[in-house]
């Protein structure tokens, strides 16, 4: 450890660039990738990711296309596990089995559905096992006595929501976060990662000691938004990707120091807990 799990939205700013961003993130030190499927009603997301989803939807992104995009990433050599982050409704329309089949076929490594809590996800979890595509559960600061229940069925890793609220950059994280993470770790048989609101190297530094990985979404998506024109233009894309990687590297500087220290350990743990799901 520790995991660095960046989040980007499929199709933002366009399909081709999403692949380039995945490659850049892997090169910069991502140990896993969360690929968001854009949705019309993303009620767990803050404004930054909402805007990214809007851009992607305008580009015609769909759940099927997003899964295909994973296949393309694999073809382009992306090796790190890729977690599909999608709302439930597109999965329901595609069909749950068909979703897993497509995910498997395209080399997805896990699925995370923010609006499908434990009680509603039994069928998905079963299918996840069947297709060997772990269904990632979330725990939140309000989960309390639910933590044990959720942890007992956790597949691959547990995703801790750092604070009440939706995704987004936050100036500060809750004071009780460490306590919460300790509590989750005490129940969990799988690694515990934390996300929602983590957007600075300082926060990364503080959190790395109490979890097994860190998800960074809005901060990265915001940087993509800032660079979108340059990323879309083939003439400026490489430079923009360099700027992007530099920014990401700066965010995870505290982790990298550890990563270098614990490189072998981390690699081993990752492959153990999350199938890369590559089928090709």
């Amino acid at each position: 450890m520790k995991h660095f799990i960046p989040f980007i939205v499929a199709g933002d700013p366009c399909e081709e660039v999403t692949i380039d961003l995945a490659i850049a993130l892997e090169q910069t030190g991502a140990t896993m990738l969360e690929l968001g499927v854009p949705y019309s009603d993303p009620l767990a997301d803050g404004p930054i990711i909402q805007r990214a989803a809007s851009r992607a939807l305008k580009n015609g992104m769909t759940l099927t296309k997003a899964l295909t995009l994973i296949g393309q990433m694999r073809k382009k050599g992306v090796k790190i596990p890729i977690i599909v982050f999608t709302y439930y409704n597109p999965v329901l329309q595609l069909g749950e089995e068909r979703f897993f089949a497509l995910a498997q076929q395209n080399g997805a490594s896990g699925v995370l559905i923010p609006d499908l809590p434990f009680e509603e996800s039994e069928h998905m979890r079963t299918l996840g096992e069947t297709y060997d595509i772990p269904y990632i559960s979330l725990v939140a600061p309000t989960s309390n006595e639910r933590i044990a229940m959720i942890a007992s069925k956790a597949q691959s890793f547990l995703y801790c929501v750092s604070s009440l609220g939706v995704t987004g950059v936050r100036d500060s994280l809750p004071t009780k976060l460490h306590e919460f993470l300790q509590q989750v770790k005490s129940y969990s048989r799988v690694p515990v990662v934390v996300g929602f609101g983590i957007s600075t190297a300082e926060q990364v530094e503080r959190l790395q000691h109490v979890c097994d990985g860190i998800v960074i979404g809005s901060a990265i998506v915001q940087k993509i938004e800032q660079l979108q024109d340059e990323l879309n233009d083939v003439h400026t894309r490489q430079e923009a990707l360099r700027v992007f990687s530099q920014y990401v590297a700066s965010l995870i500087e505290p982790l990298k120091m550890r990563v270098r220290k614990n490189e072998s350990e981390t690699t081993t743990k990752t492959t153990k807990t999350v199938s890369t799901g590559q089928t090709d």
């Binding site: 997301d45 404004p47 909402q50 709302y87 409704n89 329309q93 809590p117 609220g165 939706v166």
Partner: protein, 390 residues
């Protein structure tokens, strides 16, 4: 938390515990006679219940068929059935020690009801409203502000009701420790659809008693409009075990064969919206589509999961009525009975006027006149004068 396969709690994990709290406290409250007594006291002494049951003599004679009765929810304080539920939820919030209310609103009716009860119960109130709706409904926005509520314009998505609801839920996720989310219809995650139904049952319970008093028998047919469907569930539910035909009327907008309608059960498919599995207007990729109706209160791409269930098992029939038919029914009701109904309610009336002439004079049709049309006069004027609504 299910009505057959429909309903459920499709929400972020963060909300599971707050929902469980509400559920537990709701069950306790519903089992507590003092809670019910207080709820009834506010309905009677504040909102003016019982609402009248009015025999639509002129329309009955004109149409020449079944006798038509209107349950007059328009006579409630703030002008619609919405207040029944708002009072109930405010009492529950108070019981739970929460003094901050979140609500979403489209045209402003539920927002006004929420702001009203918040004022009456000494609570803070934040109303999320799409920025487009804020512009279109400036008077309702000011009304909410007069009532002391804070109106928060929502700039995401299409800036209308669906987005306001998303934003209200997002805010709730962040503030669920001290805020109570007051949903305005029988939608949302469990226990909301059930809770709102329980706080709207009074419509049907009163109507049943009044009907028996007036005619000595139950109505043969009950008709109510369905957007989210709270007035319809409130009206139907106390009659579901009886041999009474129930018809829910959705908004067909410019026609169910066009893309501009809000006929969720008629034309939608199973999906998840705002935490609930139900019928939804969506595209093939599961993206929720923007509905359309001249009636802001019916202009919703989902429907209460219990309606989805009642449709599925065939207990309630769901039909639809176009803008044009609804406006014609509104005009007819105004001219013949001196009642300007809300455009929402006019959908139910339009269906009643279609059915009444086909039925015998011994039959009775009971229509839920869910709200008054004062709020809609500008819309009707624009419509009749040929101006297009946005």
């Amino acid at each position: 938390g299910r009505f057959g396969m429909f309903g459920g709690k499709f929400v972020p994990e963060t909300l599971m515990r707050p929902l469980a709290d509400i559920e537990q406290q709701l069950y306790e409250a519903l089992a507590d006679p003092s809670f019910h007594a207080e709820y009834m006291r506010h309905l009677y002494e504040y909102s003016g219940r019982p609402t009248a049951l009015t025999f639509a003599k002129n329309l009955t004679e004109r149409l020449g068929g079944a006798k038509m009765y209107f349950k007059r929810e328009d006579l409630n304080h703030t002008g619609a059935h919405k207040i029944n539920n708002a009072i109930g939820q405010a009492l529950l919030a108070r019981r739970m020690g929460k003094r901050k209310i979140i609500a979403e609103t489209g045209a402003g009716q539920h927002g006004v009801a929420a702001a009203t009860v918040a004022a009456r119960f000494g609570m803070e109130c934040k109303v999320f409203m799409g920025e487009e709706d804020v512009k279109r409904q400036a008077l309702n926005v000011f009304r909410m502000k007069l009532l002391g509520a804070q109106v928060i314009p929502v700039t995401s998505g299409n800036r209308t009701l669906k987005d306001a609801t998303n934003e209200a839920i997002r805010y709730w996720v962040e503030h669920c420790d001290d805020h109570f989310y007051m949903i305005g219809s029988v939608v949302g995650p469990h226990p909301y659809p059930m809770m709102v139904r329980e706080f709207q049952r009074i419509i049907g319970e009163e109507a049943r008693e009044q009907m028996l008093k007036a005619e000595g028998k139950l109505p043969h047919t009950i008709i109510a409009c369905v957007g989210g469907g709270s007035n319809a569930i409130g009206m139907f539910h106390p009659f579901l075990d009886d041999d009474v035909e129930c018809i829910g009327v959705e908004a067909a907008g410019k026609g169910v064969h066009t893309t501009e309608h809000a006929a969720t059960i008629t034309k939608g498919t199973k999906g998840v919206i705002h935490g609930s599995l139900t019928y939804v207007l969506q595209d093939e990729h599961g993206q929720i589509t923007e509905p359309y109706s001249i009636s802001a209160g019916l202009d919703y791409p989902g429907v209460g999961p219990e309606h989805a269930y009642l449709a599925h098992i065939g207990r309630v029939r769901y039909e639809s009525v176009t803008d044009e038919e609804a406006i014609a029914a509104l005009q007819m009701t105004a001219e013949m009975e001196g009642i300007i109904p809300a455009i929402e309610s006019a959908h139910a009336l339009a269906k009643a006027f279609q059915i009444a002439p086909l039925r015998s004079r011994e039959e009775i049709i009971l229509v839920c006149l869910s709200g008054r049309g004062d709020k809609d006069v500008q819309t009707v004027m624009n419509y009749l004068e040929g101006d297009e609504q946005e």
